[in-house]
């Protein structure tokens, strides 16, 4: 018999009398000790199904169907009965380990509470257990860390703390909702390894929610693919990856493979169309030379060195990838190039004209239209009270002084260029999809035909199929307009798919740079190799 099975689950949210259905007719089951993956893009209902089944949705949700855990229907339990199941029999690991830990309580207290919520334990014994749990999830020096607050831990360490809470009472089932999505790729690999190890040693069943089929291939026995609140395909992992039946599964797999295929590209450069030939030997379009950046922290200690002697070139019409994990300094470089931050030493030059050096102007007025930025979170970088048309009209209004009618035609042409339907122009950012918002941000950036666009993690917040479309858009814009892109990303797959050259950063230093196929095929630096080895899905050949 299945340990946990969901049968014909329906979830609707009622607001002001109107109900919107989020999940309909979803069924799946997980056997003891096995791993089931729920895969789908955001809004597909995978998290909602699990939260609904375990009674963790807010009050205005209406849940129908059955959620059987060891024969008991969880949807029929009272709040108090359900509380005794959660934590003791079902452990949870959520996505963002910072927002999921209480900021004002020590990690020790939070882990201890997972025990004391269900058992009476003496103080000394409790402390012993918390220390053991911290050790088991791989926190070094638990004696010293037990009294620390979550803000003293890195993302990966916080996720280990979350896992310690989940396994505290050795539950039969762990539900892990995108547990590695917010983490760097090397950290992701170590967390996946930890989950696998714990699962083997405790015989725990695992439900693993993810949008990434590549990650899922590392861990799942069975896969459920969801879209728009429905299950489209259920299959054993091996079968699903070998022979996907549903077209949507094939689409997801193709998107996941897209980056991977190019990790080992043919030896020819992936973009022969790049008009980099004539300039290759002369002055590069953009040159960063000897960039240093250090911050003085609140204490008296050594200043933190964010960048150390970073130099690179960006040629006309070239897309260069800047990769590294969080804290590697890649965003700082982007900010310096865009004139948003001033380096401690070194400078940047555009067509030989130096700017942003010590003492100079950050970004002289004449260069401002030449260098534009696209940020990661398009929702945060667009004014929520302005329509798309108003946002796109602004660069023209500020910089050109064209008549209103002319601006309107230009805005329409711009929207068409980034493949935004004209109907979107009169909407607000909140009425757009994530992909549309990022198209607006890109359109705003290219409005004045800049020669350089700094794109800081432009696809990280997007679903995988949308990512593919935006990457294609960036490449097409480069081909049509000859714009150079500095593409900042932690996603090696996206960099491999898009860029001609890549710069690998570690702790603020350039460890390796060169053509993408050379760096990814024959990495010379040990850190680059670690990064490449941490890419999920390599083992299973997604």
């Amino acid at each position: 018999m299945a340990l946990f099975s969901v049968e014909d689950l329906r979830v609707a949210f009622r607001r002001r009398g109107r109900a919107t259905t989020a999940v309909r007719g979803v069924s799946f089951a997980v056997e003891p000790g096995r791993t089931l993956a729920l895969v789908g893009e955001s809004g597909s209902g995978k998290s909602v199904s699990l939260l609904a089944a375990t009674g963790l949705l807010p009050g205005h949700a209406e849940v129908g169907g059955r959620a059987l855990f060891r024969g008991t229907d969880l949807t029929r339990l009272t709040r108090a009965e359900l509380r005794r199941v959660r934590g003791r029999h079902i452990g949870f690991v959520f996505q963002d380990p910072l927002s999921n830990l209480h900021p004002l309580k020590t990690v020790g207290a939070q882990i201890a509470e997972a025990v004391t919520a269900h058992e009476r334990v003496g103080r000394a014994a409790l402390r012993r257990r918390v220390l053991d749990l911290l050790g088991e999830v791989g926190i070094k020096d638990p004696e010293r860390r037990i009294g620390d607050y979550p803000n003293h831990f890195s993302g990966g360490m916080r996720q280990r703390v979350m896992i310690a809470m989940a396994i505290a009472l050795n539950p039969e089932l762990i539900i892990a909702d995108e547990p590695t999505t917010a983490l760097d790729v090397t950290v992701q690999a170590s967390i996946l390894a930890l989950l696998r190890r714990l699962q083997e040693s405790h015989g725990t069943a695992l439900i693993f929610v993810s949008h990434d089929l590549a990650v899922v291939s590392e861990i799942a026995d069975d896969v459920v693919v969801m879209r728009d609140g429905e299950v489209v395909e259920t299959a054993p992992a091996a079968e699903l990856y070998a022979a996907p039946r549903h077209p949507y599964t094939r689409e997801l797999l193709a998107a996941a493979r897209h980056g991977r295929a190019l990790v080992r590209p043919p030896s020819a450069p992936s973009a022969p169309s790049a008009p980099s030939g004539p300039d290759a030997g002369g002055v590069p379009l953009l040159r960063a030379s000897g960039l240093h950046m250090s911050y003085r922290g609140p204490g008296r200690g050594e200043p933190f060195r964010a960048l150390t002697d970073v130099s690179f070139d960006l040629r006309e019409g070239e897309i260069v990838g800047l990769v590294g994990e969080s804290g590697s300094g890649k965003s700082t470089i982007g900010r310096i190039v865009a004139g948003l931050a001033r380096p401690t030493a070194g400078s940047v030059s555009l067509r030989g004209e130096a700017y942003n050096g010590p003492g100079g102007v950050r970004l002289p007025k004449s260069l401002r239209p030449e260098i534009q930025v696209v940020f990661q979170d398009p929702y945060g970088s667009l004014n929520p009270r302005r329509t798309v048309a108003a946002t796109l009209a602004e660069p023209f209004a500020v910089n050109t002084g064209l008549p209103a009618a002319e601006i309107r035609t230009r805005v329409e042409a711009l929207a068409a260029r980034v493949e935004l339907p004209p109907t979107v122009l009169h909407r607000l950012p909140s009425q757009l999809s994530g992909g549309q918002r990022q198209r607006v941000a890109i359109a705003r950036a290219i409005a004045l035909r800049p020669s350089v666009v700094v794109a800081d993690e432009p696809v990280s917040a997007l679903d995988i199929t949308t990512q593919t479309q935006i990457l294609a858009l960036i490449r097409r814009l480069r081909d049509e307009l000859g714009t150079s892109f500095l593409f900042i990303s932690h996603d090696l797959g996206a960099v491999a798919a898009l860029c001609e050259r890549v710069i690998v950063l570690n702790h603020g230093r350039v460890v390796e740079q060169g053509p993408v196929h050379r760096v990814f095929d024959e990495p010379r630096d040990a850190y680059t190799r670690t990064l490449l080895d941490s890419i999920p899905g390599r083992v299973a050949h997604v």
Partner: protein, 329 residues
Amino acid sequence: MRRHIAAHAARALATLLAVLVITFAMTRIAYRNPAAVLAPRNATQETLDGITRALRLDEPWYLQLWHYLFRGPDIQGAPMGLFNWPPGLGYSFRQQRPVTELILSKIPVTLSLALGALAIWMTLSILFGVASAARPGSWLDRVLSALSYAGLSVPTFLTGILLSYFLYFTLSSYGLKWFPASGYVGLTEDPLEWARHLALPWLTIAVAEIGIFQRVVRANMLDVLGADYIRTARAKGVSERRVLFGHALSAALNPVITLGGLELAALMGGAIVTEQIFGLDGVGRLAVEAALGGDFPVVIGTTILAAAIFVVSTFAVDVVTRLRDPAAR
């Protein structure tokens, strides 16, 4: 942290000094012949000359200020400037007593009133706010919210009059003399009588404050209850009461502490209306009577006291909220 506290303390002292200089200058500029205003009624020319000499009123105002700070009026021999020890705030010629003595005699009343009211309104606001936020939109939430709006919109003098009408007048017409309508009994003399005499004033202040604080607690609780770490607590199987009071409340409390400090400081500077209605002889009454009568050594003294309380309370609030925040510690 230590550096932060030092910087804050320096700013606080500068603020106090500015308040002092401004109030001092204003009282000196307001009158052509301050001695005549300061003196008791029917004072002889001799008395007026004495006051002029004692306060150096024939010198420029900044020398008068210097004198006020480092020497105090030349009466009774001992210096009583603000920077002497014990610090003095001048001398009320009307009441023939040093200002510090006057203020100190009123402080127990004001302190009892403010702290007692604080205890009542904080407890009730937190209970009502948490209850509202636990089930937003429920009938309980609606009733509590309506009550808090009512408390917020009714002016204090009306609340005070209504409370004394129903809880004093009506009750005593049935022979139930639970709550006296006026007067004050010291805490050390008779704690029960102290509480009985202050019950109505406490309630009067609490009604208005609950109107604000119930809303603040509710709004912050709703914010926090939507946070991911609350879901994590529920996922661990933590009981709903512990989720509300152990997890959510502790995270929602900072704005409540900040606002509470400000309101408490305002009350300690003198709860003027409440003191008037219930015949409490507190700092507020002292300040009002001094201002109306032109007894400006007392005006300066009470103003500096109120400013000092504000400065100390914002300082305390800052320290407390910082101590609660592991990132700032």
